[in-house]
Symmetry: C2
Subunit: 254 residues, 2 copies
Amino acid sequence: MSFSSSSTGRGGAIGGAAFSPLYKQIKALLVQSLHAGEWKPGESIPSELDLAARFQVSQGTVRKAIDELAAENLLIRRQGKGTFVATHHEAQVRYRFLRLTPDNPENTQRAQSTILECSRQKATQEIARLLEIRTGDALIYIKRLMNLGNRPSVIDEIWLPADVFKGLTSEVLIHNKGPLYGLFETKFGVSMIRAEEKIRAIAANAQVADFLNVSEGFPLLQVDRVSYTYGDRPMEIRRGLYLTDQYHYRNSLN
Amino acid sequence: MSFSSSSTGRGGAIGGAAFSPLYKQIKALLVQSLHAGEWKPGESIPSELDLAARFQVSQGTVRKAIDELAAENLLIRRQGKGTFVATHHEAQVRYRFLRLTPDNPENTQRAQSTILECSRQKATQEIARLLEIRTGDALIYIKRLMNLGNRPSVIDEIWLPADVFKGLTSEVLIHNKGPLYGLFETKFGVSMIRAEEKIRAIAANAQVADFLNVSEGFPLLQVDRVSYTYGDRPMEIRRGLYLTDQYHYRNSLN
DNA sequence: TAGTGGTCTAGACCACGTT
DNA sequence: ACGTGGTCTAGACCACTAG
């Protein structure tokens, strides 16, 4: 295929004329296939040469598209084996989105969660805004307690759009082993690929203090998260309260 | 230059025989030049073709080396202009390593800092370990109060190796406009390129509460940071206490 | 041995910024 | 018009994994 500006080929803009390189267009097509479920989490995608033939471009162009998707953790490259769709199942012990780490690395964090509640709610204005749905739309609400190293350490409140997570009940949650995001992939076809968090220090209220075995007013980390699937669609709101006297939230700055 | 395994070319291992691609070797040479100060923060480095000639490799190989350095924020590419050494000066308003953001984005955070203390200390065992120096080595200790939006919001304590930051006094700090890391680049030739943070929720003690205009016991974010220069050498320890009732620490997960 | 991703090259042309 | 980074191609060969 020849290379030219946006008026040519896939993804040409209608009138804006924003230049979009070929590999970006290929990348968008790959994401589209991922979103459509053509290749599922954990599976391998076709080889670079196969994709090059399919899209009628050179291997190098496919390569660059895959490179970016691998950098964004949508795909995982394995030399000699192939390129695989990222999954929250493999990360198993090391929860991909949980940045809580023991101060003392010897304490292997055996995570274990207890469902405290699983009910239906209607979306408040705030949650509707974040999930890009309408106020009053049906939500599934989950409240759970997580133990790290046999000690209650995290309380999570989770809000999900009910239409997408139809059939998500307390029973399903209790039977689930491993990360919640793994369940979302397997049972509901929702892959979480990115999240934004806002972190604050707050004081534990009476109820929370009771669950976490601390006194009322004890300082906790409040982590407000919005998780996104393919195409930057928000799919989950989560508020986590972390006990950070023996754990900390780790972060890298570049 | 031909392409072969580690026994060939620059960077060949002595006996371990770990394979190192050419572009990784070029990358290491570039970092070496950056560290040596051949190109200073804000300046441009030679063009890709010049570097290709200098290292006797193809432009594509130099390109891949620069790509990775740009991804790590050591270099900044600007189409049509050149490739520049990253600096903490340009980031000016948007402090590169400060993740504190107003809950209400309208509140433009006018940062302004007051030096509370600048003295000499000897390294404790803990700080010596983190800075990879010896216990008892000379340190410069800085304590400062930062105002965001005309409200005291952050208290920082900073520990620096005295031999590297010779001549860093209270006067120098007070006269400095802009980010501290900009001062480090200009006056001491130290470029901070990466940092690791550990975040916890703690209760304000009496002294801190007084500085931040809150009551004792008020929940604060405690951010412990280690900053690194070229070659992963730790060069700064920092403990920040953040008031997060109107601000939050933002983070992206991938 | 075959297939996959990973590296390297050489050359052509495009987009952007400056002169 | 020129120089810079950005995109694309085609082809060769290397490294890793599996059958």
